[in-house]
């Protein structure tokens, strides 16, 4: 029996013990990615689908789990632990983001195997994926504080996510300067660029710029997570 004494260990132990969820979680991204990558679908479509997949994995998982915990009373128990809400949220969301990242590793490996010549994009792709997963988990956590049920949390996640993906230039290339500026303020645009590059497409940004921006989003998301702890765990 695996014993977990810390918050992050507990997340891993619980995840590892849910075998059915483990299989579904690993199989789902592969089922989406295999036909896209192996069939040599145009990189712009493959990048769009994989950006959407990555963007939605984090918030749905975190949102549903935290809403269920609010319903069952676990959130109240968290409030009685000698841990600050910020630290609690950082530990939980970063662990979940790592688990989500593990879920996407087979997809990233598949892309690398299929397009080995695009290796210059791999560091940027790894970092943007991590940043988007952490931001997605944070979105899900905030959505959970507004929701009464795991079903409702899906609405609060998808409603802002779709326009954000549009504004990131994921669905259609953006030509207006104002929209281009907006897209550069959103992490999904960098993930989309990195995926385009790694899939052998024609991204508009160089890999190093994407890498730097992703690093900024990752650090920003970590800082914001610490500050939103009370909002998520102590809103009644």
């Amino acid at each position: 029996m695996m014993l977990a004494g810390t918050i992050w260990q507990r997340e891993f132990v619980e995840f590892a013990q849910r075998r059915r969820a483990l299989v579904i979680k690993l199989a789902f991204p592969l089922l989406v990615a295999i036909p896209l990558v192996l069939s040599r679908a145009p990189s712009i479509y493959a990048a769009m689908a994989l950006t959407m997949l990555t963007a939605i994995v984090g918030p749905l998982g975190a949102g549903a789990v935290l809403t269920r915990e609010r319903q069952t009373g676990l959130t109240l128990r968290y409030r009685t632990l000698p841990v600050t809400p910020g630290r609690l949220l950082i530990e939980r969301l970063s662990t979940n983001a790592v688990i989500d990242f593990g879920q996407l590793i087979p997809v990233l490996v598949l892309i690398a195997l299929r397009h080995p010549s695009a290796f210059a994009w791999w560091p940027a792709l790894l970092l943007t994926t991590a940043a988007v997963l952490l931001i997605g988990n944070l979105m899900g956590a905030v959505a959970s504080s507004l929701s009464q049920s795991p079903g409702e949390v899906m609405l609060y996640v998808v409603i802002p996510l779709l326009p954000l993906l549009y504004l990131s230039g994921v669905f259609t290339p953006l030509s207006q300067p104002a929209l281009l500026v907006v897209s550069r303020l959103l992490p999904f645009s960098y993930l989309h660029e990195a995926l385009l590059g790694a899939l052998g497409g024609q991204p508009t940004l160089p890999p190093w710029e994407t890498l730097l921006a992703s690093l900024g989003f990752l650090v920003g998301a970590a800082g914001l997570t610490g500050r939103l702890g009370r909002r998520v765990f102590e809103s009644d």
């Binding site: 977990a4 004494g5 409030r79």
Partner: protein
């Protein structure tokens, strides 16, 4: 022997504590002091504010106004405060996909216990609570009573200075309730202060030093148990099981009746001191087949609450 608390500062002081919810629910202007080794019972019907008060004292809720001081600090988020509180909330919330032992291990470590100490104490508490054989079972497969016992284990494992227990005997069988009373009495003797929200009159009378009665979110009476019981001493409680409804107003207008309330097909009547149950039966004269059963007993804290508010506490859990 109980520790001498006269010279001890209060472990917990609640001052004008208010938590208002929409719709007028909540608790209002509550004052409470808790010394080492003291056991305070919070009693009141459902919706009276017991759970809200416990959550405020347990740092799980934030007051709208007023404050709580724990061990001399009012900072509810201070980890050193929370490490000294043992909390059992109303919901038996756990990580259902983990075993009982895994859950308790996690909470024990959150409160700073080392591996060796956690193992030693959890082994003892799992045996005491009767959960030893179910320790490797997923909590999702536990019954409500088992989950409540696991909550108790988790509240006790770090040996807190203050125990805050919401309906601790809910879903426990009689044997488990007796074990709990015995354990809490021992803890009290060694200086642990206890606040328990309960409607279990048996538990409150056996365990509590003092009682705080809550009604519609407000403290309507507080005092030491023997002192409170003298207020209903000498009177009797009559329970009449009826075949058809009767007018409570008629009963209440009798000089022999101090308070009356109906609960299903049973009427609870607190007789005035020196009054005789026959005086009540005389009123029902002519409807001899109305009463199917009658029971007279010594009044308890529940009867005092009925006398004070005209509202009966929910029937005990047993």
């Amino acid at each position: 022997m109980r520790v001498d608390t006269a010279s001890e500062p209060s472990l917990l002081i609640a001052t004008d504590l208010t938590r208002a919810y929409r719709g007028g629910k909540g608790v209002f202007d509550i004052r409470l002091r808790l010394a080492a080794g003291e056991v305070v019972g919070v009693m009141g019907p459902n919706g009276s504010g017991k759970t809200t008060l416990l959550r405020l004292l347990a740092t799980a809720a934030t007051p709208t106004s007023g404050q709580v001081s724990w061990f001399g600090t009012t900072n509810a988020r201070d980890p050193s405060v929370r490490r000294r509180l043992g909390v059992m909330l109303d919901q038996a919330a756990h990580f259902d996909q983990m075993t009982g032992y895994q859950n308790a291990w996690f909470f024990a470590h959150q409160f700073g216990l080392s591996d060796a100490l956690a193992r030693e104490r959890l082994d003892e508490l799992f045996s005491w609570s009767g959960l030893w054989d179910a320790r490797d079972q997923l909590v999702g497969e536990y019954s409500l009573g088992m989950k409540r016992r696991l909550n108790l284990v988790e509240a006790l494992v770090h040996r807190p200075s203050i125990l805050l227990l919401d309906e601790p005997t809910l879903a426990l069988d009689y044997r488990a309730e007796l074990d709990l009373i015995e354990r809490l009495q021992l803890l009290s003797l060694t200086g642990t202060a206890v606040v328990l929200a309960t409607n279990d009159v048996h538990l409150a009378e056996r365990l509590c030093d003092s009682i705080l009665f809550l009604h519609e979110g407000r403290a309507i009476r507080e005092g030491h148990v023997p002192e409170l019981l003298t207020e209903v001493a000498g009177s009797k409680e009559v329970q009449l099981q009826l075949n058809s409804p009767i007018s409570l107003e008629g009963l209440r207008s009798l000089a022999a009746v101090e308070a009356a309330n109906v609960d299903g097909d049973t009427v609870h009547i607190i007789l005035a001191r020196g009054a005789n149950p026959a005086q009540v039966l005389a009123v029902l004269n002519g409807t001899a087949d109305l009463v199917s059963n009658m029971r007279v007993r010594r009044p308890n804290l529940g009867d005092l609450f009925l006398k004070l508010t005209g509202v009966a506490l929910p029937v005990g859990h047993r």
